[in-house]
């Protein structure tokens, strides 16, 4: 697993994150009416927030570059990737293929997120989850999704 701990200090990356968010927000806020203190437009308050965020982000970047700080925690991409992938799959499938298939695919993908899972246990868990969710969510709580395709 690749680690960026050697390269980065968490202040720097936190600052970078804030600056990126602030800049994206500012680009959008440009299209809003700002107004004046007396007559604040929709953009007034967000503009203030985004500017503060930008300022704080810049301070953190400077701090990160100039001082020795805590380094970024080790990134484990395997659980992150498979868990996120399993959610995307669930989102794509639930309305098209029904709840049962969406759940089975989600369990199948998130199975890879951990190294400790066994196929048998995951398969049984997935099957039970599909049945239980169909009963609880579709039959009892009446979520408008079809169980099967």
């Amino acid at each position: 697993m690749k680690s960026i701990a050697q390269r980065g200090n968490s202040d720097f990356y936190s600052g970078l994150l804030l600056v990126v968010v602030a800049v994206v927000a500012l680009l959008y806020i440009r299209t809003l009416t700002i107004g004046t203190v007396l007559e604040m437009g929709p953009g007034y308050f967000p503009l203030g927030l985004a500017l503060i965020l930008l300022g704080m982000g810049l301070v953190m970047i400077v701090k990160g570059v100039t001082t020795e700080g805590v380094s970024v925690g080790r990134l484990h991409l395997r659980p992150l990737f498979f868990v996120l992938l399993s959610f995307v799959a669930f989102g794509l499938l639930v309305e098209r293929a029904g709840l049962v298939i969406a759940i089975l695919v989600q369990v199948g993908l998130s199975h890879f997120a951990s190294r400790e899972t066994t196929w048998l246990a995951s398969a049984i868990t997935g099957g039970l989850l599909a049945i239980a969710s169909s009963v609880v969510f579709v039959w009892l709580l009446k979520i408008p999704v079809s169980v099967l395709p």
Partner: protein, 500 residues
């Protein structure tokens, strides 16, 4: 005084309906469950169950969600004592002496004292809510918008105090949350803001998707990174009935812990975790034989366990009387109330007496249920520890996905969850806690509304926040709180508390 008895009577008539009793029980059982299981906290669980409460009526939903929170305080002590794994951060100090007691064959004693102390503290905390609630709400009703704005500033500052790690970063997280809270319709003009043209965002970012991503799923991923520890065996429990001598020894600690916790729960920046740490420190200081601490002192279990329960209970005071959440869990409950169409604020008691008194009455009933759930049935909970995480996490993920989907029956919210999970994961790696972000997000729209209204009434003069005595007091309090964190001596001690 009569009003309180009338209110409580009314509350019991609501809380004791079969359906609400059931919700209370479900909440208490779920709370115990997640308290026992390490790696699944109340914030994640409440966000997980939030969508399921849509179908319920608001009172039942809040009764259940509240039960999860205070129930977790009971459950957390069980594993701390028996296997030296605190199920919750609030039970970390309980493990020190509790586990030692268990090794000495006194597990039953420790568990019983923890449960009895929790029960006494929980009931006392609930009485305090009933006593303080109505007068505080009346006082808050006199607040004008500048006062509200300052009150929210105080609430946000308390999120900084609660956050672990750098205060500067916590403040940045608050601003990030406030900015995210701006997404959606502008209250005054109805214009869409920062929605990036997405129709799904016109009502704002879905609260459940945000919480589920930041706390639920991101937490699962963090847990998956660590190799799980299997609990091979745990200490035997012999008698759960403590002797008179033990009870007498614990009595003082329970009383002190209860009072300390009650106070910490109400104060902004307090909360159950800090209450339990402070109680442990206090017990060690007042004890004539401090050397017993760390070697199985009953006071080291009785004090912190009482303190965390009292604080869990009284942290409802700012929420119910002023509509201000003082912790991430309370912010979740604000979200829950809003989703059910109830605006949290000082009018809750007068406009929703059923909710306020029903919730209080349910807390008495819930605490009583918890003693029964925890003491005689302790064996069942301990066995739950044997459910391996490699199965548990699959269940959590599927429930998360269905839960998020069911809010609006839209896959868009699931993709939002994916985004917030990634954000939550990155923030954890950067040592930035997502809790202050959540507080900012929840309070964002209210902060803006009161800010704008204040400046309209003052004709654009920002001094209005300093001219009104209430507002000035609240701002001074916030400043004092903020300075106290930044001060090196105190921040060092705070660091030690979190490190232990």
């Amino acid at each position: 005084m009569m009003d309180i008895f009338a209110g409580l009577g009314h509350g019991f008539s609501i809380a004791a309906t079969p359906l609400n009793l059931l919700f209370c029980l479900v909440g208490a059982v779920c709370g115990t469950l997640i308290g026992v299981l390490p790696g699944l906290g109340p914030v994640a669980t409440i966000s997980l169950l939030l969508p399921a409460t849509y179908a319920l009526d608001p009172i039942g939903a809040i009764i259940m969600l509240a039960g999860i929170y205070y129930g977790a305080q009971y459950g957390g002590s069980t594993t701390a004592i028996l296997v030296n794994i605190p199920g919750e951060s609030t039970s970390v100090v309980t493990a020190i002496d509790g586990y030692k007691m268990a090794q000495q064959g006194r597990a039953g004693e420790a568990l019983a004292i923890a449960a009895i102390g929790s029960f006494i503290a929980g009931c006392f905390g609930t009485v305090v809510i009933a006593l303080l609630g109505p007068p505080l709400a009346l006082m808050t009703q006199k607040f004008a918008s500048p006062d509200y704005f300052s009150l929210m500033v105080l609430g946000l500052v308390s999120a900084v105090v609660l956050a672990n790690g750098s205060a500067f970063r916590a403040v940045a997280m608050i601003f990030l949350g406030l900015l995210l809270g701006m997404v959606g319709m502008d209250i005054n003009t109805g214009e869409a803001r920062m929605t990036f043209g997405l129709i799904e965002l016109s009502d704002g970012i879905n609260f459940v998707a945000l919480v589920m991503g930041l706390f639920g799923v991101a937490e699962v991923i963090s847990n998956l990174e660590n190799v799980s520890t299997r609990i091979v065996n745990h200490s035997k429990i012999n008698s759960i009935w403590p002797s008179f001598k033990v009870l007498r020894g614990a009595w003082g600690a329970v009383t002190r812990g209860t009072l300390l916790g009650t106070l910490f729960g109400i104060l902004p920046g307090g909360g159950a975790t800090i209450a339990s740490f402070s109680s442990y420190a206090l017990e060690k200081r007042v004890s004539k034989t401090p050397e017993r601490f760390g070697n199985g002192a009953i006071e080291g279990v009785a004090g912190p366990e009482s303190a965390n329960n009292a604080a869990a209970q009284t942290s409802f005071v700012p929420l119910l009387t002023m509509g201000i959440p003082t912790s991430a869990t309370m912010a979740l409950l604000v979200g829950a109330l809003t989703l059910h169409g109830i605006a949290p604020g000082p009018t809750i008691i007068s406009r929703q007496p059923d909710l306020f008194w029903g919730l209080i009455a349910s807390m008495f009933l819930g605490n009583a249920m918890l003693v029964i759930i925890n003491l005689p049935m302790i064996g069942i909970w301990v066995r739950l520890l044997n459910v391996p995480y490699r199965i548990l996490y699959l269940v959590i993920l599927v429930v998360c996905a269905i839960g998020v989907f069911s809010v609006n029956n839209s896959s868009f919210d699931i993709y939002m969850t994916v985004g917030f999970t990634a954000l939550g994961y990155i923030l954890r790696k950067l040592d930035a806690e997502p809790a202050p972000l959540l507080m900012g997000f929840v309070l964002g729209p209210m902060v803006e509304e009161n800010f704008r209204r204040s400046l309209i009434t003052s004709h654009g003069d920002p001094m209005v926040f300093l001219q009104r005595p209430i507002s000035l007091t609240l701002l001074l309090l916030s400043a004092a709180l903020l300075i106290s964190i930044v001060m090196p001596s105190i921040s060092k001690r705070r660091g030690e508390v979190f490190q232990e």
